[in-house]
């Protein structure tokens, strides 16, 4: 392990803002993408069900 403490780790040799700004935005966008994909999938399934119940009430 190359870090003396957690604060040393977060400080990132003075580049904390840049390094964590990069990692954070990447993590955020990928999590949003996954959540959005899940929501879209549920909506698609709900659409099929809604059309089914319209046709065979």
């Amino acid at each position: 392990m190359r870090w003396e403490s957690w604060s040393d780790f977060w400080f990132m040799g003075g580049y904390g803002l840049y390094v964590w700004g990069s990692m954070g935005m990447t993590a955020l966008l990928l999590l949003v993408e996954m959540a959005q994909a899940r929501l879209a999938h549920r909506r698609a399934l709900a659409l099929v069900r809604a059309e089914q119940s319209l046709e065979n009430p």
Binding site: M1, R2, W3, F9, M12, G13, G14, Y15, L17, Y18, V19, G21, S22, M23, M25, T26, L29, L30, E33, M34, A37, A40, H41, A44, L45, L47, V48, R49, E51, Q52, S53
Partner: protein, 249 residues
């Protein structure tokens, strides 16, 4: 063999295949990400010139590579779609686009955060940066165009043209650091010479690149299933899917 490819290119077959694949791919992507972050942040040494700031490379290079790879994949599926008129091609192209757009944006974002401390500027109109910005706009253009056309087959064909014509930009991005004098550094890893990086740095970067690659496969497998359901929802096989019928009972 040819028959087999077309067999898997049928949306019904591919729906099942992608459904079995994506959980494994997602788990593998997570494992690779954790391994890559461990090597990149716990094992790799500080850089002689850039100190700890260089660690942005562990996300910047993978997302930049994938932003280009995904565009080429979209062009590939578009060629197949226009040539064989297979239904799956348009859906694959559309499933790839949002992930490509996100990676292109992240390439610009992480590049800005790297450029500021090292070059003193968030942005310069350098050939590498400008061509990557154009790639981001091409993704947005593809998404906007395909969602603006109601007829899905027409939308797919129009989108396929953007994907194919825009693919010319990818080699321009890749070779921009060779063809022009750019502020952006040249390739750290190339096929023709040994990498100009310390071993652990290289391993961290390659693990993260592999992680992003597998993540892309996972999310595309997942997203294409949504598109298949939406487009094939009037077919008997979609109507009979357990995930559709299950909730009704």
């Amino acid at each position: 063999m040819t028959m087999r490819w077309f067999y898997y290119a049928a949306p019904q077959t591919f729906y099942g295949l992608a459904g079995r694949l994506w959980p494994w791919l997602a788990a593998l992507a997570l494992a690779l990400t954790l391994a890559g972050l461990w090597v990149g942040f716990a094992l790799a040494p500080a850089d002689a010139q850039q100190g700890e700031g260089y660690r942005i490379i562990f996300v910047h290079v993978p997302v930049s590579w994938m932003s280009m790879v995904i565009y080429l994949a979209m062009a590939f599926w578009s060629v197949l779609g226009l040539t064989f008129n297979t239904r799956l091609s348009g859906m694959m192209t559309r499933a790839l686009a949002p992930t490509g757009a996100i990676f292109a944006f992240l390439s610009l974002w992480t590049g800005a955060l790297w450029g500021k401390p090292m070059w003193g500027a968030w942005w310069v109109w350098d050939a590498r940066l400008t061509s990557e910005l154009i790639l981001f706009f091409l993704y947005l253009g593809y998404i906007a165009l395909t969602s603006a056309i109601d007829d899905v087959r027409r939308a797919d064909r129009a989108g396929a043209l953007i994907a194919i014509v825009g693919a010319i930009n990818v080699p321009i991005i890749y070779f921009s650091v060779k063809w022009w004098n750019t502020l952006h550094q040249g390739a750290s890893v190339s096929l023709t010479r040994s990498p100009s990086m310390a071993q652990l740095m290289l391993w961290g970067m390659l693990l993260m690149a592999l992680a992003m690659w597998v993540y892309t496969l996972a999310i595309v497998c997942y997203r294409v299933r949504t598109l298949i359901i939406e487009r094939e929802r009037h077919t008997d096989w979609v109507q009979a899917l357990p995930e559709v019928a299950g909730a009704k009972a």
